[in-house]
């Protein structure tokens, strides 16, 4: 069925700015769910707070719009109570890695069967462009108008180190890859992390003179490459896209807890 049929039409058009990447991620997520063939009743979307987190309001599944940074804690509860349901957690980089960083590493360590889709726009969009733990060194935000001195997290390395059993990265430019990766992440049993490099033209783009949504997506096209590509020999600064971890491990479950 068309993507529109998975949306709560009374809330559309959505509030995201022109050219914001989050809508591309929402559309990719819907296509992935459609491809797997899940019924609306079989999916729970749990989000925190942020522009990205508003996705839970638009999607016509079971949805919970919870507290900033705490979505994974709520999602863990849902999954333990109803292991038969597919639980997806759309997150912002601030939501997942600043206020929610502790929930994130422990959800990964426990390897609970959830899918975290992290829209990494390298900024706090909703609150006006403050820096996040994903703002790269030297880049500007309202909290670091001359550029941030701190180093950013590498989300893929962080998720790997914390124990996630599926870790992937893509961008809003690579829309076909995006759908395919979210599909694989949902099918995977265990904690799945998909980092989607997304654009916030309104704050991150403007503050760093990166242009509008189109220009920022050209940046994703020109500054990323597939894992293992030869292009990185000449340009080691290219960010890798692809699936970094995909391991089958026993999954955390209420049954497992009961076993002594």
């Amino acid at each position: 069925m068309p993507v529109k049929d998975y949306l709560r039409l009374r809330f559309l058009p959505h509030i995201w700015c022109p050219g914001c990447g989050h809508g591309i991620v929402m559309s990719g997520m819907i296509r992935a769910i459609e491809e797997i063939g899940l019924e609306k009743n079989e999916v729970v979307v749990v989000s925190g707070i942020g522009c990205s987190s508003r996705m839970a309001g638009y999607l016509d599944f079971h949805t919970m719009h919870t507290l900033h940074g705490r979505a994974l804690a709520f999602a863990t509860g849902v999954k333990l109570g109803r292991p038969d349901l597919t639980v997806i957690v759309p997150m912002g980089d601030g939501d997942a890695l600043a206020i929610g960083g502790n929930h994130f590493i422990h959800a990964a360590r426990r390897d609970i069967d959830l899918t975290a889709v992290i829209m990494n726009n390298r900024i706090y969009g909703m609150t006006g462009g403050q820096g996040s733990p994903m703002t790269p060194q030297g880049m500007r935000s309202t909290t670091a108008p001359r550029g941030i001195a701190d180093a950013a997290f590498d989300l893929v390395e962080l998720a790997k180190g914390a124990g996630a059993s599926f870790v992937a990265r893509t961008t809003t430019f690579h829309a076909t890859e995006l759908t395919r990766m979210i599909e694989k992440a949902i099918r995977h049993k265990g904690f799945s992390v998909v980092e989607v490099m997304s654009q916030c033209p309104t704050y991150y783009g403007r503050q760093n003179r990166l242009g509008n949504g189109v220009e920022m997506m050209k940046g994703f096209r020109d500054n990323t490459t597939s894992i293992g590509s030869k292009k990185r020999e000449a340009r080691p600064d290219l960010i890798e896209r692809g699936i970094f971890v995909d391991e089958d491990r026993p999954v955390y479950s209420p049954e497992g807890l009961k076993a002594d």
Partner: protein, 65 residues
Amino acid sequence: MDKEGKVVINREWCKGCGICVAFCPEEALILDPEEKAYWAHPEKCKRCGLCELRCPDIAIELVQK
């Protein structure tokens, strides 16, 4: 490719970001004077569906007849 399909734009939802226009491989789309996407060159369109995949506003759809 199915040359029968049609690209349909929802003008109520389109925010004129220009993403579909910029990345259409066949230059089949334009932004009209009201800053809405417009399927100006159906004859060039290959019905690849990329515009639909990349639209952040779910405002453009490749509809198969």
